[in-house]
């Protein structure tokens, strides 16, 4: 699923990475807990989270997360936006709640990180 499709499905506002919306993601994880993202998300995933701080961008970079969508209409502050831009990470915002956003993407066919084998996650090895 491309970020453009995700943007439409979740009615997102694009904060950074406007030029990279043709990028594909193969799966998604939803969590406000970055430790759990580090433990359970796989490379190449999209992250949906209600946490809006710099650690989200760092976590995405470290865990090879392709893009981040902030749910519940959370606004990223200037520091978070600057780091997303520096890391070249697409960042979007939706007013949907986490469960609703996950549900819509799942219904549209985007699987969860527990359902995609690591070998198919886009970064082989």
């Amino acid at each position: 699923m491309t970020l453009n499709e995700i943007k439409d499905i979740l009615q997102c506002e694009v904060i950074t990475g406007e030029d990279r919306l043709n990028m594909e993601v193969k799966m998604c994880c939803g969590s406000d807990l970055m430790s759990d993202v580090l433990a359970f998300a796989k490379a190449g995933a999209l992250l949906l989270t209600g946490l809006a701080n710099r650690q989200v961008i760092r976590t995405a970079e470290v865990a090879d997360i392709r893009a981040v969508v902030l749910v519940r209409g959370k606004r990223p502050d200037a520091e978070m936006v600057a780091l997303a831009r520096e890391q070249n990470l697409p960042l979007m915002v939706t007013n949907l709640l986490l469960y609703e956003a996950c549900g819509r993407l799942y219904q549209a066919g985007l699987p969860g990180c527990g359902e995609v084998p690591a070998a198919e996650s886009g970064i082989l090895g």
């Binding site: 406000d32 807990l33 970055m34 430790s35 759990d36 993202v37 580090l38 433990a39 490379a43 989270t49 946490l51 701080n53 710099r54 650690q55 989200v56 760092r58 976590t59 970079e61 470290v62 865990a63 090879d64 520091e79 890391q87 690591a118 970064i123 082989l124 090895g125």
Partner: protein
């Protein structure tokens, strides 16, 4: 670890949440430039980041020594801080002494050390209460 070793040391400042993660991001970039396989880089970056966050959250200061040989990537993490009273307990998933502030950052859920161990081929931890904590993390190439 002898000939042909890449070595670099990084400093981490306790309580510096603004820069938290910068060292791990740098380590990741170095490993990418060296040409390490992406899944191994990811494991090392996650281990380094969890260790870095622990130092930012709990320690006064810390150092990470990155060493790369043709066989192994090694991270030696040393901090000056309160140390860990019960390592066995600290290694259990979900056990945490984190403050509300740390949890608000998305960390401190008691996943850090178990997550480091999970991503390492070899992991050792030593700690002295009132002095600090030392981690040895290795991923074989």
């Amino acid at each position: 670890m002898n000939g042909g070793t890449f070595r670099r040391e990084f400093e981490v400042t306790g309580g510096d949440f603004y820069n938290a993660g910068r060292v791990s991001t740098e380590i990741k970039e170095i490993l990418r430039q060296i040409g390490i396989a992406a899944p191994k880089i990811r494991r090392l970056a996650i281990a380094a980041y969890e260790a870095e966050m622990n130092m930012v959250m709990y320690a006064r200061s810390g150092k990470v020594l990155l060493q790369v040989t043709p066989e192994v990537v090694r991270l030696d993490v040393n901090d000056v801080g309160p140390g860990i009273e019960n390592i066995e307990l600290a290694m259990q998933e979900g056990y945490s002494t984190a403050s509300e502030e740390m949890r608000a950052m998305g960390f401190g859920a008691g996943m850090g050390l178990p997550n480091i161990k999970k991503n390492a081929d070899r992991f050792e931890i030593r700690s002295e209460v009132g002095k600090g904590t030392t981690l040895e993390i290795e991923v074989r190439l």
